[in-house]
Every structure is written in C-alpha cells, then in structure tokens.
Point group: C2
Chain length 117, copies 2
C-alpha cells in the first residue's frame, strides 16, 4: 500500500456526500441516478463524486445497458483501518498511562521532577 493511495482514500472520505454514497453502497449495488436521488445536487456533481471514489478504488462500476451499477470496494477502507490502528494505544484507556510515560521519557525541556506519580 503506497502513501499516494492513502492520500487518495483519505481525500475521498473527506466529503460527506461521498461518505453517504459509500454508506448507500454498503447495502448493495446502485445506479448513478439511484445514488443521486437523496441529494440536492445536480447529476454531474454526483458523477464527479463517483469518479473520485472510483479513482481512489473505493467503488467499481459495471455496465448494464445504459446503466452503470456502482459497487463498494473495501480494499482502501481496510488500509485506513490498518493505518489508524497504529494509534489505538493513544485512545485506549488502558494505554493512557503508557502514553504519559513515553511522553515524560523524552520531553526535551521538561523538569525531571515534574513527573507525575
């Protein structure tokens, strides 16, 4: 997994319309018009959002007659989950003490007697 792919995935997910589209696709394939229906936004705008998602690898598109059914592709989401997992210890309560400890260990200018406990 490259950094560029993380860039594209995070950037795609930064838009609420695109996240809503993914949520919709989590329930099954849908056409562009079906995906556009809930939004107060022109069809071309949705089409561009879909292109962004496709470029990020978050969806794939088939062809059935004049329809382009969209489908969720979760690979990049797995990458995101893997990335964020590295930070779990910073929000898990059981690791708070360790985080504090690590921080104290290498505070460059801190007074050593400032240490809690």
């Amino acid at each position: 997994m490259t950094e560029d792919r993380l860039d594209a995935t995070f950037a795609s997910l930064a838009d609420p319309t695109r996240r809503a589209i993914l949520a919709r696709l989590a329930q099954g394939e849908a056409t562009v018009n079906e995906l556009a229906e809930p939004f107060a936004m022109s069809l071309p705008a949705i089409s561009r959002h879909l292109k962004v998602l496709e470029r990020a690898g978050l969806i794939s598109r088939g062809r059935e007659a004049q329809w382009r059914p969209c489908r969720l592709e979760a690979g990049p989401l797995k990458d995101i989950a893997g990335w964020v997992e590295h930070y779990r210890r910073f929000w898990d309560a059981s690791f708070d003490r360790m985080a504090d400890y690590l921080k104290e260990l290498q505070t460059p200018k801190g007074d050593p007697d400032d240490r809690k406990n």
Copy 2:
C-alpha cells in the same frame, strides 16, 4: 461526533506531511522546528500544517518560553476507527459470502436465476 468533524479529520489525514507529523508525535511531544526538520519545506508551511491538525483536534499545543510543544490528540482518530469499522464486513473474508448475498437480494435488474449457488 458530527459529520463536520469527520470532514476535517479525513481532510487533515489526506496530506502525507501531516500524517508524518502525527507519526512523529506518536513518539512524544515535539517543537515546531523539530517537526519541520525532516521535511524539505519551509517553516511557515509546517506551521500551517500544524494549524490544520490543531483545528481538526488532532494535536494540541502548549507554551514553554518561545517553544510551542505539539502533542498528539487521538480523539478524532478514534472517530475514524469507529467509522471505518462499519465497513469491516466488506473486507473480512468470513463476510464475503454475506456481502454477495446482500447484493443479490436487491440487485434491481438482475435475473433471479443468475444467483450463485
């Protein structure tokens, strides 16, 4: 957790410089100059990246004399982890069959006899 906060968090994480800064901060507090050191980029550019991270709640900043030590704040990362977790079933192997099943269930134009198995 609001949608806006997810927007800001994902947008912040879409930049590789900012992700690298977070990775650095995972090892402990650091000043702006320390954070800037690995990058071929001007200090004002780093300062702006830090402002983006701060606005997203991903870091906090203290004051020690003329230094502004930066510290990782993991709350928004926890939100990200929670968000992406909803999609786990789409990449977990044990759920592939279920995803297929759901897809078949509501394919609008599919031939019912197309169903696998």
